[in-house]
Structure formats: C-alpha cells, structure tokens
C-alpha cells in the first residue's frame, strides 16, 4: 500500500487545460531511464522495509508532497519519519526539477506541499494565488563531481578549463544550472577573466536536473559535472572538488503549502516537521545546511 502511494505521483489532472507535452515525455514529467532507475534504486530499501514491516493501520489520508529532485534522499526519509509519527497518513512524494513541478501545479496537478530549490517558482505560484506563504527550510551549495576513475585526471578547479574535457551542467533555466554558471563567473577572479568561457567551451550537455548529471558522471561518460552538495552526498562513489565559499553560490530552498491543498492541516504539520530539529537533522545528514 505504501508502495503504491509512494511511487505514483498525482498527475491525473496534469492534462487539464493544456495538452500534454509531445511524444517522448512520459506521464510523470521526466524522461524515463537512468533517473527513474536511480529513483527506484533509492526507494528499494524503503520499499523492502515497508514490505517487511508488521501490518500497520491502513492509511486513510494521502499527503502529497512535490519536492525538488535534489531533495530525493532527504524527503524520502522525511516522509518515512512523518508516516511513522502519523500512522493514518501515507506520504506520496513526487520528485522533479522545481520548474517542472511548478509547471505541473500550474496545469492543475493536486499537491499539499511544494518544496522548491529556488524562490522564483514559489513566487510565480504566489503571483497566481496558488500559494499564500512560504518559508526557507534549507540551504544547499555547489560542488564539482568527478567519476571515481577520474580518467581525465582532474586535480583542481583550474583543470576544468583544460580543452577537450566533457563537462555536463544543468541547463541555464534550471536553478542548479544557473547557479553553476554564476559560480564559474565568480571563479574568474581566481583563474583569469576567460576561465568561465573556457570551462563552458567543454560543455557537452545541458541536463534537465542534477540527477541526470550525477548519472552521466557515474557512468564515466562525462569527466565532470556541477551539482548540489546534497547530490554528491547521495552518490558517495563519486570524487568531489570543493568550490570555496567565497566563489560558491548558495541556494535557499523555500517550502509552502498549496492554497488548494486537499489536506491543509496535515500540510502545515509536515512543514512544521521539516523545520523542527528532527527535520533539520535529516536535511543535514543529506548535505543540506540549516537556514538561520
């Protein structure tokens, strides 16, 4: 039961008002394949433990959470904790790029809570009265990831500008992609005015979210990628290069209940849990920093 509710994003209403996107785009709003595989792998332990657990009371309410894909690990655990504290509640999680989730909500997808990787998406939804208030709940910064074999022999941030490397970033419209380019610009101060241009000359793919970058680096197809620290925590087999704080870009994650949330009280409780000491320690475990 937990199994079904966890894996099925509430997308029945996605098609209303606007036709579904063209062919090749599966119903849950992300390309099939690696990210899905990774997601299922990440869920496997939870699914197994759910199956192994002694019979629990039948959940009567399903709380639907839309969360940025960088929150996959943290919010999966968050949902588990919330479920054990609320036996009558089943938490359904839908992970995707923040802007993709916003598009889904705009097109009528029903959700109780939206945890975004940037403020713009929340503000856009607030402008349409789909969200009343929001608050920051976590901060995330950037890190360079390298495949464990590191066949390109990248030793420092300066090496990223070496011609012929395969660099994979998120697209400029995706928050993590925009932040990555901002960080590269800042690094010009240390490595020379054309550093960011030379690094971007190595760009071979604009991915739609950070998980795609992790997958391509894990496979060794890309020599380097820039993702959130939380993404690298979730993929411990990767090598990392830290970006010094003065050049790094910090993303503040806001969380909000949807104005037309089917379960407004539960939504408020979940947000309170995320902001509680317990919730914040889960986030910290997954590489996020608390917001003051």
């Amino acid at each position: 039961m937990t199994l079904a509710s966890r894996k099925t994003p509430p997308v029945e209403s996605l098609g209303q008002g606007l036709p579904p996107p063209s062919r090749g785009r599966p119903h849950n709003g992300r390309p099939q394949g690696l990210p899905l595989l990774l997601r299922l792998c990440a869920l496997a332990p939870i699914l197994l433990s759910a199956c192994a657990a002694s019979p629990t009371p039948t959940p009567t309410q399903t709380l639907t959470i839309f969360a940025a894909s960088s929150l996959l690990g943290a919010f999966t655990e968050m949902g588990d904790s919330f479920e054990s504290a609320h036996p009558a509640v089943s938490v359904a999680l839908n992970f995707d790029g923040s802007q993709s989730l916003r598009a889904q909500i705009e097109q009528g997808a029903m959700a109780d809570v939206f945890a975004s990787a940037n403020a713009e998406e929340i503000e856009a939804l607030a402008a349409q009265s789909l969200i009343a208030t929001s608050q920051p709940f976590a901060a995330n910064s950037l890190i360079v990831i390298l495949p464990s074999a590191n066949t390109a022999g990248i030793q420092s941030l300066a090496d990223l500008a070496r011609p012929g490397l395969f660099l994979v970033l998120a697209a400029n419209d995706v928050p993590v992609g925009r932040y990555s380019r901002q960080a590269l610009e800042k690094l010009n101060a240390q490595f020379g005015a054309d550093y960011s241009t030379r690094v971007l000359a190595n760009l071979v793919s604009d991915e739609s979210n950070a998980k795609q970058i992790v997958a391509k680096v894990q496979l060794g197809e890309a020599d380097a990628g820039i993702v959130y620290v939380s993404d690298s925590v979730a993929a411990p087999d990767l090598l990392t290069l830290a970006i010094p704080p003065e050049y790094n870009v910090t993303a503040e994650y806001p969380i909000a209940a949807l104005a037309n949330a089917p379960h407004p009280e539960l939504a408020a409780e979940f947000i309170a849990f995320v902001l509680s000491a317990d919730g914040q320690s889960i986030l910290e475990k997954w590489g996020f920093r608390p917001v003051k």
Partner: protein, 251 residues
Amino acid sequence: MPGSVLVSLLAVPLAALLWRALSQNFAAHIITHSAFAALRISLVTSTLTTFFTIIIGTPLAYALARWPFRGRPLIELIIDLPIVLPPAVAGLALLIAFGRQGVFGMWLGAFGITLPFTTTAVVIAQTFVAAPLYVRTARVGFAAVDVQLEESAYAEGATQWQLFRHVMLPLTARSLLSGAILCWTRALGEFGATILFAGNLEGRTQTMPLAIYLGFERDLGVALALSTLLIATSIVLLAVLRWLDHSTPDQ
C-alpha cells in the same frame, strides 16, 4: 458510443495543443534561435538516419525475405526488439556499449573516436529505434513479389543487380518508400534514446523533441510552436503513406 471516447482522447489533446499554439504568435516562436537550431539538427539527423537505413537495410530486408539462412529467426528477433523496447532502454544500452567507458566505446576511444554527446550519437540513437520499421516494411514488400518472376529473370540471364534494379525495385518501390517514411517519422520523433546517449546541447545534439521537453519548463511558446510543426509534418507524412497504400496496384 464507446468508440467516440477513444477518438476524443486521441483528438482533443492534439486539437487543444494546435489551438493554443496558433492563438499565440506562432511565427515569433519558430523564428527563435534555439527553435531554428533544433529544427536544423532534427532535419539533418533524421535524413541521415533514413539514408543510412535504406543503404544498409534494403539488402538485409531482401535477405530476410528470400534466403532461409540459419539464424534468421534470431536476426528477426533482434530487428523487432527496438520496436517494442522503451527508447530509454535503447539509450542506456547504447551508452553501455558505445559510451566512453562502454564495451566497444573504450575500443573506439583507442582510435580517437568518441561517440556520446555528438551529432553522430543522435543519428545512431535514431537508427537504433527507427531502422527496424524500414527493414520490416521492406521485407514484407520483397516477400510479396512472386518468386517465379525472379526465377524467370535468372533464366534469361539477369545478374543479381539487374534483377534487383529492373524487377524487384519497380515492384517494391511503394513498400520501400512507405518504410522509409515510417523510419523518417520515427527518427524525427526520437527522444528517449537521444537524451541519454547524445545528451542535450543546442546546435549539436538538441533535436526538436528535446527542445520541446526543455521548452515545457523554459519557454512554453517555443515548445508549442515546435510541437505544432511536428504534428503538421506527421500529418503530411501519414497522408503520403495512405496515398501509397491506396494506389498500390495488385501484383
């Protein structure tokens, strides 16, 4: 009537998309740089895919139709598989085989050839998913030709090439053209294998379906305009297919 439900399900979304796309400034969105780049990449890659498929696929289709060689069922299975497999599986398989760390990719790398993230990778991904449609259609076309025609041509001393050029080709031209159109349409719409194997970079590997996918999050106008263009192209190609079907003479 239940049938109308299904027809509506198929027609309403497409009609709604067209209506929405045409009620905006369609031309302004098509003339953007990224839309134009995607259009160019799509046309170049799908045409190359179809070209290579015809060159390599025609002899294969003929062999499958005529020569009962050992292992034919296996080859037929291999050709049918990509049609039923999800394109993401195709993309992953291509990456595992021809990626830089892939089984054959490492070997290619020794010769300085790198496939992932290149326009060549787009063509390979499209060929993987689209070529089977051509081979299947062409095989059915070849199989439908009366064997006695070939035998009498041989009896009169025709070479293999003459037989193909003057007997088989005129009789199967319609099947081959239908297969080529199916292959081209499928290549034009390829998404899953491309985004995994070739990545997504404007002007190099970003085809129309990829631009539509990202446009959904970035610029809905461009996504709608490109979708309209793909729908229009598909309608024209399907109309040609129907015309070919109806005008096929009895053999």
